[in-house]
Symmetry: C2
Subunit: 115 residues, 2 copies
DNA sequence: CTGTATCCTTATTGATACTG
DNA sequence: CAGTATCAATAAGGATACAG
């Protein structure tokens, strides 16, 4: 990252992108956020929706998301636990939107053998 | 969006986001793309720029990026090899922009103990 | 210089069982 | 139901050496 190459902008942009990816990336994070967009869900319900995730991994992922304020754990009076997508997760809307658009375009490109 | 679980929109959105993340995510992909934004670079030059990456990992990452059309490998007449960021990588600009913006905002939130 | 091969260590999963 | 604990399997990463 020398002056001639990666300068101010680069030094701002790179860590910021990494920070965001650090929180979003991984096999399950986005899926969980999307899954919770359609309503609060219980642990087992989530596990069923996200086919293939183990309880251990789901547990860890939810903790991460909670730590970053994207999801909350809510215990109802009757004792059932619900995972709730926070309003803050909406701040990811633009990111998700661009991500999705690019993903769709990219797949299309591959299907057409443009790559 | 209304139904209780994951329906049409969800089923479109989820895999598209995953596809995109699959290509972008990881410790190095974004850094490499950013590093190459400031000009073509040789293998060793890249390795020096991206402090901490091993030759093996860099090699693998570059192959991935090449496969996905984001980067090209160009051999000059004198034999030197250059890694070049393709125009297609620009299609990631919106994604990166949103990612960066969110990353900045998120860090700010954490600094202010809002999470 | 541009990588690949190898070996070794560490992180991530998966499966299963088990507790409150 | 909502998880945790444990252990085995696998994947990913680092260090070093070396070939073209």
């Amino acid at each position: 990252m020398e002056t001639a190459t990666c300068t101010d902008k680069c030094r701002t942009v790179m860590p910021a992108a990494e920070d965001a990816l650090y929180i979003i990336a991984g096999k399950w994070k986005v899926r969980i956020i999307i899954a919770l967009a359609s309503g609060d869900k219980r642990f087992n319900e989530l596990q069923r929706t996200l086919t293939g995730i183990s309880a251990r991994v789901l547990s860890n992922e939810l903790k991460d998301l909670e730590l970053n304020g994207l999801v909350s754990r809510k215990t109802l009076d009757n004792g059932t636990v619900l995972y709730v997508r926070n309003a803050y997760a909406d701040s990811l809307r633009n990111v998700m939107h661009e991500l999705v658009q690019w993903g769709i375009g990219h797949k299309e490109k591959i299907r057409n053998r443009e790559i």
